[in-house]
């Protein structure tokens, strides 16, 4: 009787077992996928990119469902980036972005890749879509602005830089520097001065000076740079601007001395050599200027060397 009951019970429970089996099986598979992903994650964290590559390949051979592939694509892409295979990383992100159209991360990665490669039109299109579809932070807004700035769309860039600056609370120095540059390009000098004033020192002095330089007010530019130099006597940018602005404010003796000081710190500075040559000519120290010119000819490599060549021919 008991045996009969047991068989009957088993018979009754059979459908429930058969229904539960896939669940049981799938939860086992899910656990396997999770463990594989965890392993890939671990490889990535310990910078073992070759292992990431092979583990991702093996993992994909298991044919995991779409939702379990996302992370694998991300780690694979990031590994290719780390290894310097930008083309492969780009391909991975392209595939992932197509497979997961609503995954912001892949689109952002794709846009970043295009941005770093200098394809600003392509990256701007993706950043713009991201901003329109998701709530994005100031970084993506700034990246979009930088695309526009590089493409020459200054008005569009201004709008995005203004938004990014608001979102960021006027804190990021690179963002504000670019904002000032954009406003200079648009000839909005008043606004550029306002933004420059929001920056912390020493960037504030450099940015204020740059606005005055573009306005053609070299005296005010020099004043700003001198204020900055008093507080930050070793800041290279400030010293360079100070040397140049002294020259263009016709303070040739001071420019000559500043160039000399700069060369003591940076002996192969082509900018300082050039100013020493030019101001040397202006104050009648042609022999010293010639010596510096010969040094520039010997050590120089770039545009400033060629610039002084042109001038020196005329001055001989």
């Amino acid at each position: 009787m008991k045996k009969r009951h047991g068989i009957f019970l088993a018979f009754l429970l059979l459908p429930s077992f058969s229904a539960a089996f896939p669940l049981f099986y799938s939860s086992r598979k899910q656990a396997l996928y999770k463990s594989k992903i965890a392993e890939i994650e671990k490889n990535f964290a310990s910078s073992e990119c070759e292992k990431v590559k092979s583990n991702v390949n093996n993992y994909f051979n298991l044919k995991p469902p779409s939702e379990f592939r996302k992370k694998a694509y991300l780690y694979l892409g990031r590994c290719y980036e780390k290894m310097g295979y930008s083309d492969k990383a780009l391909s991975v992100y392209k595939i992932a972005a197509a497979l997961y159209p609503h995954e912001k991360e892949f689109h952002k990665k794709l846009a970043d890749m295009y941005f770093d490669a200098g394809f600003f039109k392509k990256s701007s299109e993706i950043y713009l879509r991201l901003i329109q579809e998701y709530t994005c932070g100031w970084e993506i807004t700034m990246k979009l602005a930088l695309c526009y700035l590089n493409l020459g769309f200054y008005k569009k860039a201004e709008k995005r830089l203004s938004q990014a600056a608001e979102l960021n609370g006027y804190k990021d120095r690179d963002l504000l520097k670019n904002y000032v540059q954009c406003l200079i390009n648009l000839g909005k000098y008043g606004k550029a001065l306002n933004i420059a004033n929001k920056m912390g020192p020493p960037d504030k002095y450099v940015s204020l000076a740059r606005v005055y330089i573009h306005k053609g007010d070299f005296r005010s530019a020099l004043e700003e740079v001198e204020k900055g130099e008093k507080q930050f006597p070793h800041k290279k940018d400030l010293l360079l601007y100070e040397m140049l602005l002294n020259f263009f404010n016709e303070k040739y003796y001071k420019a000559y001395a500043k160039a000399g000081n700069f060369l003591e710190k940076y002996p192969f500075s082509e900018a300082a050599m050039t100013i020493k040559i030019w101001s040397g000519y202006k104050i009648g120290r042609k022999r010293e200027a010639q010596q510096t010119f010969l040094l520039l000819q010997k050590k120089g490599k770039g545009w400033l060397k060629r610039l002084s060549e042109r001038l020196n021919l005329q001055e001989r």
Binding site: L90, A117, F119, L146, G152, K177, L244, A271, R310
Partner: protein, 321 residues
């Protein structure tokens, strides 16, 4: 073929990555850039007679010519001195509008509306049918109206920037450089396609498009007194075999223009060549696209142009430092 495309894409991308530092965002990142910035600001703040005066030369090219809008936009935003302008055909239209004081923003608006505005009607529809059936040259009423509406009543002497435009005497083949008189007539004559539009009668001459005789009018800018020339040249691509009378005619004009422009380009100090080869003369639905391409190309080249101008100017401006 697909593989070839992929590998080209990869090579292109890798080249792009290696060049990414050139496309740096902060424009004062090193010594040379700081030096250039200050020296540039100093030179361009000088009056035109104390530095090399800059002439901007705008080539012909029909709808492609709207690329000049982008070029002018970038020059303006980078405070490039524009002391005088010369233009042929569409270059004359854009140059004339700009020289008259019209802002680049408004010229951009024309570019975006070019297809919907009636100007393109002169190149299609009934007027064109008339040309083929009646064998009679068209009097382009929409183009004439556009030029008159925007430049009518203005004289060369009243322009904010000195300007010259070029047309050709249809009887003698002489190049006529306009620098005086009524602006709209001169611009209209410069944009008067031969073989399609009626020649314009002017002082016993019959004038047609200047593109046939001087596609890139460097001489006209020199005539105005420009000492340093920046040319914006919108080149054509003639690899496609024309399929009708109209496109054959335009292709002949394009080829002739290209040959002429090559000689003029050699006399320019700097050339910007927007990549608009895929846009045809009468593609008025692509004017805005042409403008954008001009803008992108100019942005790519602006740093080089500035450095060339500084280097060429330095021996002249040195005594004023």
């Amino acid at each position: 073929m697909k593989n070839l495309f992929v590998s080209l894409h990869v090579v292109f991308l890798l080249c792009g990555i290696s060049l990414s530092h050139c496309a740096s965002i902060n424009e004062t990142s090193n010594e040379e850039d700081i030096f250039e910035e200050v020296l540039w600001a100093k030179i361009v703040s000088m009056p035109a007679d104390k530095r090399l005066s800059v002439g901007i030369v705008l080539s012909g090219g029909g709808a492609r010519g709207f690329a000049h809008t982008g070029v002018l936009d970038i020059l303006e935003k980078n405070h490039f001195p524009i002391d005088m302008i010369s233009g042929t055909s569409m270059g004359a239209v854009i140059g004339g509008l700009y020289a008259s004081g019209m802002g680049v923003e408004r010229i951009w608006k024309f570019a975006s509306e070019a297809d919907t505005k009636n100007v393109s009607k002169d190149f299609k529809g009934f007027s064109f049918l008339e040309l083929l059936i009646k064998n009679k040259l068209i009097s382009p009423k929409y183009i004439t109206a556009f030029v008159n509406d925007n430049l009518g009543g203005k004289k060369f002497s009243e322009l904010k920037i000195p300007f010259a435009c070029v047309s050709m005497d249809f009887c003698t083949g002489e190049k006529i450089i306009f620098t005086r008189g009524a602006l709209s007539l001169a611009v209209r004559a410069s944009v008067n396609l031969p073989g399609m539009f009626e020649p314009i009668k002017y002082r016993h001459r019959y004038l047609v498009d200047g593109g046939v005789v001087d596609f890139l009018p460097v001489d006209a800018a020199r005539h105005l007194g420009a000492k340093w020339i920046l040319s914006s040249w919108v080149e054509s691509d003639n690899n496609v075999l024309p399929r009708n009378v109209f496109s054959s005619l335009l292709q002949v004009i394009d080829i002739r223009g290209k040959i002429l422009a090559q000689k003029s380009a050699a006399r320019s100090d700097f050339i910007i060549k927007p990549d608009v080869k895929d846009i045809k003369v009468a593609d008025f639905n692509k004017c805005y696209e042409a403008g954008n391409k001009g803008l992108i190309e100019a942005k790519k080249n602006i740093k080089k142009a500035k450095r060339k101008y500084i280097a060429d100017s330095l021996p002249f401006v040195w005594r004023f430092f």
